[in-house]
């Protein structure tokens, strides 16, 4: 691509490409989360990634508001990177909640671990699809990845519903019930935010060429 091409492509495509750094951070944070669920350790690394994501959002916000983005798209782009950052935030919140309390019942602990690992695996797939969306310029393929993310989110919803069913039927003490509910919500948020970010991305790409 020539210099002219780079100059004209610099706006929207540049921001989308740059914003994939946040998704990369989210993928890394998710893998740390998975390790933490398997073997509870300290949360510092995820906390640092969450901070890194915030810094990235600040940098990108500056690029969006001062760069060559059409004013009618600025709000969409800001919303988009905010949704991406929310993915990392929900991973961090999930990790914190996971370490905050340890249910006494071994069966509950085992069940929650297995469900959260499933959610983390689905999250990894959703984030990978989101990353592919950001690096593809074929709208049909982008929409295909978007549909995949929607499907992952639905799978996550089912797991969340299963956790609630389990909680209502098997948990008797409030603390554990509350802890399990929170974990289910945070894990679901991670997938919801992936879906929200992909929704905004498709909407941006659609509106650019409509």
């Amino acid at each position: 691509m020539g210099l002219l091409g780079k100059a004209f492509n610099g706006g929207e495509s540049g921001i989308i490409s740059e914003s994939s750094k946040i998704v990369k951070i989210a993928i890394e944070a998710n893998s740390k989360l998975k390790a933490l669920i398997e073997e509870p350790t300290v949360i510092n690394e995820i906390k640092m990634l969450e901070k890194k994501s915030d810094d990235e959002v600040l940098r990108l916000s500056d690029m969006i508001t001062s760069g060559s983005i059409a004013p009618n798209l600025i709000d969409d782009f800001l919303e988009y990177i905010d949704k991406e950052d929310n993915i990392v935030d929900s991973i961090y919140n999930l990790a914190r909640e996971f370490l905050r309390y340890k249910p006494r019942n071994k069966r509950i602990r085992h069940y929650m671990r297995s469900q959260l690992l499933k959610m983390s695996d689905i999250g990894a797939l959703a984030m990978s699809s989101l990353y592919k969306m950001q690096h593809n310029e074929n709208l049909e393929i982008v929409k295909k990845h978007h549909a995949e993310i929607e499907h992952f989110e639905e799978e996550g919803d089912e797991i969340k519903d299963g956790i609630f069913d389990f909680a209502y039927s098997s948990i008797n003490d409030f603390k554990t019930f509350y802890h399990v509910s929170q974990l289910a919500h945070y894990a679901d948020n991670m997938l919801d935010n992936c879906e929200d970010a992909s929704d905004v991305l498709v909407s941006i790409m659609d509106s650019i060429i409509s």
């Binding site: 002219l4 706006g11 060559s68 004013p71 009618n72 310029e137 074929n138 709208l139 060429i209 409509s210």
Partner: protein, 305 residues
């Protein structure tokens, strides 16, 4: 002395026109941040000058038909009336067309003079004024349909890049047609010489740089939350219509064609909210200003003769 006054008022008027029309020419590329404000000013100024030099002479036939006798006093009268109406309308933020206003002024003066005016030319001009917006509207719809069908969704960023390049080129040519038509028409009314030509070029540069800042500030905030495809369709349809008018030596308002094109581009969206009232107000003020220009110039010419 009269000649000096003519040149001074012509300079002011051309500067105002250049600055005021910058939004219609490069507003979409500045508003969508394809180019910076300075870039927008440079593109417009270059477009005006190229159009004025390349095709401005085509409007000479127009002024000859509307104002066959041009005594210096009446030329000054025409320029002063046009400038006053332009400034008042601008301050009142009323949409206006200098081409229509100045043509009406020339007509009013000639009627007062009892000059023999080409009825065929006047009829042709009125037909253009009525049908040009309709044509711009229709072309914008067709262009939008064409672009929607042909747009490459497999390489979205290449498509965006191409649309941006076309936007810049069409912005330049929109300014080109304005330079050829409106500025060419004004130039044809003043005594022709290398000095008057340089004066008009200088007025274009000064007007584009000094008098466009307010217009360009408005663009980003109020006017153009427009998409790339509609921006391209709007520019191309309006510049085509104005170019055809230039070829036929008819003064035609860029903003008139541009506004009609915006409505045309808007019509091509499935979900749209197009307000009728602004369109009625715009058409009403164009007609009102044309009539006012005619009456004022007729009365003033009678007083001066």
């Amino acid at each position: 002395m009269l000649l000096l006054l003519i040149f001074t008022v012509a300079f002011i008027l051309v500067a105002f026109v250049s600055g005021n029309n910058l939004a219609a020419c490069t507003g979409s590329v500045v508003g969508s941040r394809i180019v910076s404000r300075k870039g927008g000013v440079a593109i417009a100024a270059l477009g005006y000058i190229s159009g004025f030099i390349a095709q401005g002479h085509m409007l000479k036939a127009g002024i000859e038909a509307l104002m066959p006798y041009k005594p210096e006093l009446l030329v000054l009268d025409a320029l002063v009336i046009a400038t006053v109406i332009f400034i008042i309308a601008h301050k009142m933020r009323v949409p206006q067309s200098l081409s229509m206003s100045f043509a009406s002024i020339a007509l009013g003066i000639s009627v007062a003079e009892g000059a023999r005016i080409s009825a065929i030319y006047v009829a042709k001009m009125l037909l253009f004024w009525v049908f040009a917006p309709v044509a711009a509207f229709a072309i914008a719809i067709l262009l939008m349909k064409f672009l929607k069908k042909t747009i490459n969704k497999r390489h979205i960023w290449d498509t965006v890049r191409n649309l941006k390049i076309v936007s810049i080129v069409s912005a330049f040519f929109t300014a080109f047609t304005l330079g050829a038509n409106t500025i060419g028409f004004l130039y044809a009314s003043i005594p022709e010489s290398i000095y008057s030509l340089l004066l008009v070029v200088a007025a274009i540069v000064v007007g584009s740089i000094v008098l466009s800042s307010a217009e360009l500030k408005r663009i980003g905030n109020e006017i153009i939350p427009i998409r790339y495809m509609s921006s391209v369709s709007t520019q191309i349809s309006s510049l085509l219509v104005v170019e055809v008018a230039t070829i036929f030596s008819v003064p035609l308002s860029n903003t008139q064609a541009f506004t009609a094109s915006i409505y045309g581009a808007g019509m091509s969206y499935a979900h749209r909210l197009l307000l009728k009232k602004p369109a009625i107000v715009i058409v009403g003020t164009w007609i009102g200003i044309a009539v006012l220009s005619f009456v004022l110039s007729f009365v003033s010419a009678l007083l001066l003769l």
